[in-house]
Amino acid sequence: MCLAVPARIVSLEADEQAVIDVGGIRKRVSVALVEGVAPGDYVIVHVGYALARLDPQAAAETLAAMAAAGLEPGALA
């Protein structure tokens, strides 16, 4: 039920709407619940609404920590 997908904002439209791209599929959603988003940003979309921004830097850090945990005993997760 809380399922939500990461999507890239393609363009901002009138009435707090935006066109998003999810794996090549485009859809119009509401960005009324998030502040200051711009084309190129990744957002988390749930039931037609962007709920939060996804931070690419943090995502890279998480993946790096996962890789580190698998390599070295005691590496920081």
Binding site: M1, C2, L3, A4, V5, P6, R8, V22, G23, S30, A32, L33, V34, E35, Y42, I44, H46, V47, G48, Y49, L51, A52, R53, L54, D55, P56, A58, A59, E61, T62, L63, A65, M66, A67, A69, G70, L71, P73, A75, A77
Partner: protein, 384 residues
């Protein structure tokens, strides 16, 4: 898909599994509850359980809104569709939940009720504007993730004067459910549900932030790790929980910091506070009546509150006696402990709510894990 596929990577998963096996102390047992149905689904679908050492056990929590919605609330929606002649709009998840007299919203539709499945609350409002002569009710369910969109459409309907639109509100609150579990006799005194920590909600936390969980870590001495819904997110969170237990820590940690921060989405929180207020109590399937665990529509928006508009009176209805959903939702039993599981109760013909949503513990296990329970049958099949 970017930010999805990377978090399902096989090699990273192997590495995390090795790290968990290495760091989980062989002489102790670890019991972690994944609160969310989203996590339950990921654990079942990607076989995370098989990647964990035997002394690390996951317990499914009640964080599936479809599963915890009691029969009496669905009965209200069916009453609206069949007896009050409204257009009843609902997320698809809710349509097959078994209600009284062998009914469901899908059956109500077959009986002539105007029940329509929508993707978004905004679709329900659109249907109301397109059908000004009809009453349109949106059956709103969900945790904090799904609440802000409902708040937004109620405010829009109010502002635009869409007089024929109302909402049957069933929005529930995560922290109240966690408190209920932590204070239950099974966890507190009987010890029948041992709990060493929580894998905390992903998208709920994007709205409410990590701050509300600090109380559980401090007051109940339980570690909480907020985690994303991809399988590697869950595995990394389990590793972080193992480390907290090993080091005697009980803290809130945030594995999902690519989306979640401590304060959450303030804009969404303000909107929810403007439109909704706390209910004194709300019945949850499995947990019973839980004080201040759900939201009701504020009097300022009463015209859009279906309960007020139609004078609906909630009536509690007991679950099917043989159904173990209640005990499963409290972490007391596993799906296979229910004698209806896989026989009388399947995703095609669910008897209990945990078999309805793909996030329900029973549906997840039925779809992805049920053959693992029968090694003898599998071996026989391979020989044949």
């Amino acid at each position: 898909m970017k930010y999805v596929d990377e978090f399902r990577d096989r090699e990273l998963g192997r590495g995390l599994a090795a790290a968990i096996a290495r760091e989980a102390v062989a002489s102790r047992r670890y019991h972690f509850m994944e609160f969310c149905g989203g996590h339950t689904h990921a654990i079942s679908r990607y076989g995370v359980t098989d990647l964990l050492p035997p002394n690390v056990r996951m317990i499914h929590g009640p964080g599936c809104p479809v599963c915890v919605l009691p029969i009496g609330r669905i009965d209200l929606a069916i009453e609206l569709a069949l007896e009050r002649g409204v257009i009843l709009c609902s997320y698809g998840d809710t349509l097959r939940v078994p209600a009284s007299n062998g009914r469901s919203l899908l059956r109500a539709k077959a009986e002539g009720g105007d029940v329509r499945m929508v993707y978004s609350a905004a679709d329900a409002l659109r249907i109301a504007r397109e059908n000004p002569a009809r009453e349109v009710v949106f059956l709103a369910i969900g945790f904090e993730t799904t609440t802000p969109p409902t708040a937004l459409v109620i405010r829009e309907a109010h502002a635009m004067g869409v007089a024929n639109f109302s909402v049957l509100c069933n929005h529930v609150l995560t922290p109240a459910a966690i408190v209920n579990i932590l204070q239950s006799p099974e966890v507190r005194t009987l010890g029948t549900v041992p709990l060493d920590g929580f894998v905390g909600p992903a998208h709920v936390s994007s709205i409410i932030g990590t701050q509300p969980y600090e109380f559980f870590a401090e007051e109940f001495r339980k570690p909480v790790v907020i985690a994303g819904f991809e399988p590697l997110d869950v595995m990394q969170a389990i590793l972080m929980l193992v480390r907290q237990v090993n080091e005697g820590r009980a803290e809130v940690e945030n594995q999902f910091h690519r989306v979640v921060d401590r304060g959450g989405n303030q804009k969404a929180q303000a909107l929810v506070a403007e439109v909704f207020e706390l209910r004194r109590e709300f019945e949850w399937r499995g947990l019973g009546s839980v004080p201040y665990s759900a939201l009701a529509i504020r009097p300022a928006f009463a015209a859009h509150d279906a309960e007020r508009r139609f004078g609906l009176a909630y009536r509690a209805v007991p679950d099917n006696k043989a159904c173990e959903c209640g005990a499963i939702l409290r972490g007391l039993k596993r799906p296979v402990d229910c004698r209806l599981f896989g026989g009388a109760c399947t995703p095609e013909t669910p008897m209990g709510s945990c078999m309805v949503s793909s996030e329900g513990a029973c549906a997840a296990h039925y779809s992805y894990g049920r053959f693992r329970d029968r090694p003898a049958a599998r071996d026989a099949a391979e020989v044949a």
